[in-house]
């Protein structure tokens, strides 16, 4: 049975990737989880320099979801290349790096440094973090800026380039096409939805930063819809993200048109989630008489105009 997928020049032994910011740099799992069970890992977002991130509280639970404003606390790309990458050399899983920047030039510079490093399988461009004042949404919320950032990163590396799109837009297809035209090899859909939770006793936001990014099962229907819209809008492959906790959830994204998926919040809930998802995927393929996970990708039978509204 074939679970491996090859997308954008990237070989994944299975379609399960740990989502950025929910799996640290991977090394945190030493001794807890055998990283080689994963198809890949996306690092926590990295800038040129180390960042402190947001004040606390940084995370609050909401119904079936999580609202976070971490603010991209991180060690900076050089420390990552110098201290972290070597420790992942034998992880035997694809290492994708989530690249951030306050300016287009910073995105490109961080990418150049990673391009020179060994052990990086692909660049994921974070143009969709809602929790930073500069960069982030400024690039992900405007198709022209999206094009500009992706093009700049594209020029800075031969590695596969995978922009991560924001759900906080009107029509994600527009952004998907802009990224494709700028030379993206694949698209990650989606980042967190912008949300606000208020402590009614103190009448202040529950998060120190104010607003935050909503993730978890609560957003899955929105995420599946956007991955589906993006997949229909472009020819490059899609990495589906949003609320995945089980094989069923992962299959929703694959059937909607994603070639692989990323698991985020579920990493906090259960470090053992990958084993159960993989087992579920195998069981599903068997039951449906399929021998390649690729055979389910994009197989959604979407209703034509009937049955629909105001028919008959």
């Amino acid at each position: 049975m074939k679970l491996s997928v090859d997308i954008a020049g990237l070989h994944l032994k299975n379609p399960l990737i740990a989502a950025s910011g929910t799996f640290g740099y991977g090394v945190e799992y030493e001794g807890i989880l055998d990283l080689s069970v994963l198809g890949g890992i996306v690092s926590k977002g990295l800038y040129l320099e180390a960042r402190d991130g947001c004040a606390t509280p940084r995370i609050v639970e909401t119904p079936s979801g999580l609202l976070n404003a971490i603010g991209l606390q991180g060690v900076g790309v050089r420390a990552f290349v110098h201290d972290v990458l070597p420790r992942l050399a034998h992880a035997n899983t694809a290492i994708l790096v989530n690249v951030c920047g306050d300016t287009v030039e910073e995105y490109a510079e961080v990418t150049r440094i990673l391009d020179q490093a060994s052990g990086v399988a692909a660049i994921e461009i974070n143009i969709s973090c809602p929790n930073v004042k500069k960069g982030g949404m400024a690039f992900g919320g405007d198709p022209r800026m999206t094009h500009e950032v992706v093009a700049a990163v594209r020029k800075a590396t031969r590695l596969p380039v995978i922009p991560k799109l924001s759900p906080n837009v009107g029509d994600i297809a527009v952004f998907a096409r802009a990224a494709e035209e700028a030379g993206a090899d694949a698209l990650s859909c989606i980042n967190t939805l912008l949300g606000l939770a208020i402590d009614v006793e103190s009448r202040r936001p529950k998060l120190a930063f104010g607003t935050g990014g909503l993730s978890g099962p609560a957003i899955r229907p929105v995420a599946v819809r956007m991955a589906w819209q993006a997949a229909r809008a472009v020819k490059i492959p899609i990495l589906g993200i949003g609320g995945i906790t089980s094989a069923q959830d992962a299959l929703e994204f694959l059937i909607a048109g994603a070639s692989a998926v990323q698991v985020g919040t579920a990493n906090f809930v259960d470090p053992g989630v990958y084993d159960s998802i993989l087992e579920g995927l195998r069981e599903y393929l068997e039951r449906h008489g399929l021998d390649d996970i690729g055979a389910v990708v994009g197989t959604l039978a979407y209703p034509g105009d009937a049955p629909s509204c105001d028919t008959p």
């Binding site: 929910t22 079936s64 990493n267 906090f268 053992g272």
Partner: protein
């Protein structure tokens, strides 16, 4: 090394009020947990709340490979745990975090606990005893009902000094009052250990500072993962070695910190714990 398991509930012992003792089977925690360490645990049955919750290991039993938590039911997660019946499963990762360092010399070790903050001190007392060190626990709470874990200490030769704000047990008032009285009276401990509400931790830290005593505090910020990946538990710290204050993960670099490195008042760390909305 922390191990993630589905653990069966073995024993369910309701204590007074919102307090309960829960015992689970988990070999690695039973054998490997050290004083001050915690677990991330969630009732296997409930979808809500999404995340696991951190709880200190109260005690372990190598023989039947179990560990026990002292849980105060304050919300959804702890309620779901309290609702487990023997045989039901919970998802549990542990042992986690940095344990207490034992006192340098043989002098007395003083532990200051507030409410469920007593939890880590039972194992610490056992450890002290194993090394034939002397221990003393100052145990405070609002009322007698909050001081649920007392007997076990007697057996360990640890002097337990209770204090309740409503005077229903022991010293009437703050737990730091009998502590200071004891120190004024000539008590010369090797080190102070504190676990409980922020205000108490900060007060103990000040007492330690003024008297030049080493002090370790166990913080309980909100925690999402317990292993350093969510960055939700960070505490604002300023070490002598550090150029400027920085965030540290309470789950991996803590929960036990040298009281001198914690940036205490009106700062982000306290904001973090304030969000914890201490019961």
């Amino acid at each position: 090394m922390p191990v993630n398991r589905h653990v069966p509930l073995v024993r369910h012992e309701p204590l007074g009020g919102p307090y309960i003792l829960l015992t689970f089977r988990h070999p690695e925690i039973a054998l490997g947990a050290r004083p001050g360490q915690f677990v991330m645990i969630k009732a296997g049955t409930s979808a809500e709340p999404p995340l696991r919750r951190p709880f200190s290991v109260l005690k372990t039993n190598a023989t039947d490979e179990t560990f026990t938590l002292f849980v105060k039911v304050v919300g959804q997660g702890s309620r779901a745990l309290a609702a487990l019946r023997p045989g039901d499963l919970a998802q549990c990762l542990g042992p986690l975090g940095r344990p207490f360092d034992l006192p340098a010399d043989g002098a007395e070790a003083i532990m200051v606990a507030g409410g469920y903050g007593i939890a880590p001190f039972l194992m610490l007392s056992e450890e002290l005893r194993r090394r034939s060190r002397v221990g003393r626990v100052f145990y405070g709470g609002r009322t007698a009902g909050d001081l649920q874990v007392r007997e076990p200490f007697a057996g360990l030769g640890v002097t337990l000094v209770p204090a309740t704000e409503d005077g229903t047990l022991g010293h009437p008032g703050r737990v730091t009052e009998p502590l200071e009285a004891y120190l004024d009276g000539g008590g010369t401990p090797a080190a102070l250990y504190a676990c409980g509400p922020d205000a108490m931790l900060h007060a103990v830290a000040r007492i330690a500072e003024t008297r030049g005593l080493p002090c370790q505090v166990s913080l309980d910020p909100w925690m999402g993962c317990g292993i350093g990946t969510c960055l939700g538990c960070v505490v604002f710290t300023q070490g002598a070695d550090q150029a400027r204050p920085k965030y540290r993960c309470a789950c991996t670099e803590g929960p036990v910190f040298d009281s001198r490195v914690v940036v205490w008042s009106g700062d982000d760390a306290s904001a973090a714990r304030r969000a914890g909305g201490r019961p």
